[in-house]
Symmetry: C2
Subunit: 594 residues, 2 copies
């Protein structure tokens, strides 16, 4: 009996069997001359009993045992007394009667208890990440992460994809987010960059004739961090040759179906719904709509364009829009003061205010009612399908402000009014994205996705004349209001790509210097190609039902990009810098000397 | 018929079927009014025929087609005339009669032909890596790499391992090889380091209670490069809790067995042979012996210690050794001049010379024969089991010089005399490695593997008194003379690890500053743990039967750590450096301005 048994797997089937357990002491209780230990290993927890009648020696050692001690226990599985059965534990009908106890390693009193729910500060938990990770909830999250990744791989392997590794030490191409740089010792004065994504390499893999590539790829962005951003993150990176955008979407939704089935046991039905970007904005005020609840934006410009309410009139006259949300059955619950608070909320999104009406006894009432004709009121009721007790919240402004404001308000109300069934997983595609967006700071168009995205063929003519109106062959997969990932077909002809760089304001020399190798490769038999990339960390967050991206990353960094466990980044020796031919800027040099 | 067929999969079974092909033009031949194209895709090559009787239009387009054009072809599979059957091709019994041809993308004349064997310079091939990768041999290598990685994953998943990701942006710990550094924008004056291996994190994962971890991990070492080194490389990284070194070795040899079976169709028999480090050195003069051939070192110090040959006498008197190789049946093939060349060869390894004897008609002949008594000669013949026609090559020196010299000479002769069956895969374990080695430059002991390796229990007493004699619970897996990987049990108690740092010359403060987080973790319930790591790139090199590590890495760097394709590393904008609070050293700043 030298083979180890796992604590959490023991059941009544094992009664009378000898077992050897290794694990951690979850807690110890002394009771009536006996000692009880909850022994925890990766598989779960089992109760171990030390009884002087079985082994006085083991009992004596057990007395010295504390929480988080690492122990080895030999014993026998026995049935618990009916009175002590614990239905909440999978091992709750049995316990292990200990015959031998060896302390493998002691533990100091941990700075916080290892338990599912904790109110300890995140900073302390990150500093002692190895203790935090012992908690059941995090153990489960990383098992789920493992399962998810294997399910994805199994699917892609079966589809004939090759898993391939692209470099981490690459060339800096400043278009896009900020690069992390790595000084070169062999080439003083020169730098590698850590990849923001394997975009260029995955395209080169297509030009290398591999046709189907994937990678679970680490990516790096030196951006200012938000709650859901990390300096390094993991991307499921996929690229194919000779496939249409429809084929790529179908293939990846089959992948998601398999993941949901294997990991969550949930059947999602295919094909997934698709919305164009324009439609998503129009209906949900969002490019990643949460479709677990309705309350879509209602467009009423045509109804109120001649109303005497100046705000409506003015917005429409200026080329803007009037939309509303019909908040069903909530007229009575929202006081004027409550609505004022919603007004403050939408102001963050640029709206100047919220107008409102309530339907009571078949009549629209509220401050703006007096500005509306009976026809207009009837039109609104028809269009919104409003019923008594409904609250209508209007926003009138530039179209983008209306969408942003009501889109955000819709989400806020959806959550606060419990309109969302949290057990649901609503996937959908958002397609036909704008190719470009205007960057006010740089006073030029920048790529909405990246500069290699292919425009829709029917929009090619407008690339020079009306760039803002050009749509891309690009698609994002959205789940419950989060963007899981996105992709596109890529420009595979040199002249297409040259044209794109021109629109982005690159000189020929500039494009050549940064992306010459890719432009060259387009001229040596580049196949039509396209792909998609998913944010793995976020997928795990949603599948695990967590709200903090850091809970899905084994050793995450804080919002200021620090690893509190290892204390990275940190100072290094001047000797190391010297070898790399770099030095600190003077003020930091001085600071260091203090 | 819109579904794509793959060129290389077509056989006589498909005759009369309509097919749609996508791929590259391997070559075009015009013959008797017909055009023949070899069409290549990932799956292989098929011959396509353009016949004016089938489609004059397709034939006309085919006339404009050149090598590496990307095309789409519709046609019908037909049987070839007996006269044109090509048995060398899997598709050699059929061809595709083209009905339609679309040029998807043109190609300039490539700088080299896409063919299996090439004599083009490696630099040119690396610059146009996407063309080089289209060659069948490299396509096959990366398929094999994919298969190998999946076989490893499948095995480890079945064994209950969790695949987990450790950070790339970590803390610099200068013990060991040189770190690549990454300046931090958020923390000016501080740096991340790229990991040389996930060693510390994998140990922390054990302290986090996950028990079985693996990762196909990218590692980075800023070392001076040799033919078989790359700045970034991939490691199969494995760590377990509660397992003995024997259990870890058994588990990983089962893994290798499965890989060999799935990838190469070869059955290797287990358990694999094991040699201690001392035994390997003694018998093969190498810590990674190639056991595909014998010709072991023969130890003869005891036989010749009293001989009148001063070189033997002196070496032994100075505590050294006399060993020889018996080169069977080669006495006649090696002239005095040939042996002089071997002497030059061993001088590189520190030997002062090679003595030699030949056995002819039952008698040992050669320059040193006169110094040996008949008893000594008889002793040598018995010990070496020499027969007429054998050549004995002696080395007498410090033991390490004798081992290095004869170890290298053994390999050289093994290759040159064709003693090695290249179709064989000989695995073996080398165990019980020295824990420490003396670093002359630093005038201190350094860790032979890394500072976390556990000493053998029976050697613990010698850690302070005789560090050089302490052996570790460490094991390397060797294949055909290459180290595939190695591992060890780790120190899991704080006092063990403190002691090790002390022997390595660390002050308490120093150890705390660099490794404090690990030392702390050892005090909060660290389980006994150990693991192993394999160099994936080298495994692929050996399984693919290649000799250049760069052929196993998709986008490799040169010996000067450059990527010739993307031109990394490269200069970056001063603005980028400024944001990172660093500057170039003055001389490079000046160089830049020129």
């Amino acid at each position: 009996m030298d083979k180890r048994t796992h604590a959490g797997t023991l059941t009544e089937e094992h009664i009378n069997q000898d077992v050897l357990l290794n694990g951690w002491v979850q807690k110890r209780r002394d009771l009536g001359g006996l000692i009880f230990i909850d022994l925890r290993d990766r598989s779960g927890v089992v109760q171990v009993v030390f009884n002087p009648a079985i082994s006085a020696e083991a009992l004596a050692i057990a007395e010295s045992v504390r929480s988080e001690y690492v122990v080895k226990i030999k014993g026998k599985v026995v049935r618990r007394d009916d009175a002590t059965v614990n239905e909440a534990m999978s091992t709750g009908h049995i316990e292990v009667l200990a015959e031998e106890l060896i302390i493998l390693n002691k533990a100091k009193n941990p700075p916080f208890m290892i338990q599912d729910v904790t109110d300890v500060s995140e900073d302390l938990r990150l500093k002692y990440r190895y203790l935090d990770l012992r908690r059941r909830t995090l153990q489960e999250t990383f098992k789920l992460r493992h399962q998810t990744v294997q399910a994805i791989r199994n699917f892609l392997n079966d589809e004939g994809f090759l898993e391939m590794e692209t470099p981490i030490l690459t060339k800096s191409t400043p278009e896009g987010a900020r690069d992390y740089l790595v000084p070169s010792r062999v080439h003083p004065g020169e730098f590698y960059a850590l990849p923001q994504s394997p975009q260029l390499f995955k395209q080169l893999i297509m030009m290398s004739g591999f046709e189907k590539y994937y990678q679970i790829a680490r990516c790096f962005r030196d951006e200012d961090l938000r709650a859901d951003r990390q300096p390094e993150f993991t991307q499921i990176d996929i690229e194919t040759s000779f496939m249409t955008s429809n084929e790529i979407m179908e293939m990846t939704e089959n992948m998601m179906k398999q993941v949901m089935k294997e990991v969550k046991g949930i059947d999602i039905s295919l094909p997934l719904p698709r919305l164009t970007y324009d439609e998503a904005m129009k209906r949900y005020g969002s490019d990643k709509p949460d479709t677990r609840f309705a309350m879509e934006l209602v467009h009423v410009s045509d109804i109120v364009e001649n109303s005497s309410f100046k705000v409506f009139q003015g917005a429409i006259a200026n080329g803007g829009t009037v939309c509303l949300l019909n908040v069903k059955h909530q007229a009575a619950s929202f006081s004027r003061k409550d609505i004022d608070k919603l007004t403050d909320f939408v102001k963050v999104y640029g709206a100047k205010g919220l107008a409102w009406l309530k339907l009571e006894n078949g009549e629209l009432k509220g401050p703006i009612a007096k500005f509306l004709t009976d026809d207009e009121k009837a039109g609104l009721i028809r269009r919104t399908d409003a019923a008594d007790g409904d609250l209508l919240l209007f926003c009138a402004d530039q179209t983008s402000v209306v969408y942003d404001s009501l889109g955000a308000l819709r989400l806020k109300l959806g959550k606060e009014l419990n309109l969302i069934d949290e057990s649901q997983f609503h996937f959908l595609w958002v397609t036909d994205w704008p190719l470009l967006e205007y960057d006010e700071d740089e006073d030029r168009y920048v790529a909405a996705h990246h500069p290699f995205t292919m425009p829709r063929e029917e929009d090619l003519d407008k690339l020079s004349t009306d760039p803002a109106s050009v749509h891309a062959i690009a698609y994002d997969l959205v789940l419950n209001g989060y963007e899981l990932g996105g992709g596109s077909l890529r420009n595979y002809k040199r002249d297409q790509q040259d044209k794109m760089f021109e629109v982005l304001g690159f000189t020929k020399e500039n494009a050549e210097e940064q992306f010459g190798f890719l432009l060259d490769a387009l001229e040596y038999g580049a196949p039509p190609h396209g792909g998609i990339a998913f944010g793995l960390d976020r997928i795990i967050m949603l599948l695990a039902g967590r709200s903090n991206l850091r809970d899905t990353i084994l050793f995450p960094k804080t919002a200021s990009a620090s690893d509190l466990l290892t204390d990275a980044p940190s100072e290094v020796s001047l000797n190391q810098l010297d070898e790399l031919a770099i030095q600190l800027q003077e003020k930091y040099e001085e600071k260091r000397e203090l």
